[in-house]
Homo-oligomer: 204 residues x 2
Amino acid sequence: MSSSSKLLDQGVDAFASLPGIGRKTALRLALHMLRQPKNDVQFFTESIKGMRNDTQFCKRCHNISETEICEICNNKKRSENKTICVVEDMRDIIAIENTQQYFGNYHVLGGHISPIDGIGPTDLNIDSLVQRVQDENIKEVIFALNSTMEGDTTSFYIFRRMMNLSVKTSSIARGIPIGDELEYADEITLGRSLLNRIPFDSSL
Amino acid sequence: MSSSSKLLDQGVDAFASLPGIGRKTALRLALHMLRQPKNDVQFFTESIKGMRNDTQFCKRCHNISETEICEICNNKKRSENKTICVVEDMRDIIAIENTQQYFGNYHVLGGHISPIDGIGPTDLNIDSLVQRVQDENIKEVIFALNSTMEGDTTSFYIFRRMMNLSVKTSSIARGIPIGDELEYADEITLGRSLLNRIPFDSSL
């Protein structure tokens, strides 16, 4: 698929380089851009360039940040909780922040252990996590990794690395999502939710 | 949904402003951009800015172009055919060009007549089409508009406008798509394909 304009092709190629955007969608987006005022297109490209050039990763928790240490790490009240929530990706921080149920610090691993993809423990921010637990005198580490084989493996690896430290470790609860019907739940989730049942009054 | 970084939010907003891109996808795209080398992001934004700023619409056929008159219009061999294919959108030109079955010129209307959306004949490039047919001594006008009520209405309106000119008008064939099974075809298409049947040997 190619048009009579090399510049249009270039714009289509740019959009098509994004993950999950095929060539037909890329063409639709490029033509949309052509119909926008020049100022809007300028604002669009500047927003993306600014985001890429003026952000960095927090030296402490590896979250995205505009300063060396991110806002969450700089928040003294949060650090007083002496709790670190371990997540795979900074996207998970946004999701957890949106719940407004967590007031401690975070640590972004940058992925999970996955031998098939050639990702071992040294490719993740695990050493710096163990270091932080010691340096910051952390009381509890909460594993909030994806509920997959790789996520569990990664949690278990970090758990083993911390066995000699006097830190409590916990994992977010696995179970039936709120609002779901039992008959559609898979057996493993349902089985686990029975095993890990909790006193009735605290489930409300 | 908001992150701890205003710049990231801004990038997400930029992507979310694109048609068909929701906030979750926008976040995924923004985080993808954050992981790319700065040069790649620069190339991405420059491609889009360049496409918007350095293209224009061909003065003759209203196709996208990098010069006043587009490549297709500038091609003398094509103009010798004295044929104009009328399309709604420049996307249709790309689709037709990809078939490699058409060697004449084009004319982009910029949409179709649609009273519901407040688009009348004067909002489309119809006057310039009628003018071209006279000025360029065109022999045939092919309607390649969408096979919808609005497309048909637009074709008919232009047909009426040209009734007094000595120009042949034709429409691209409607029928069963190649590779489709009859039982899944809608009745109107099937009925039309029977009415407009063609000699067997020319259907191959």
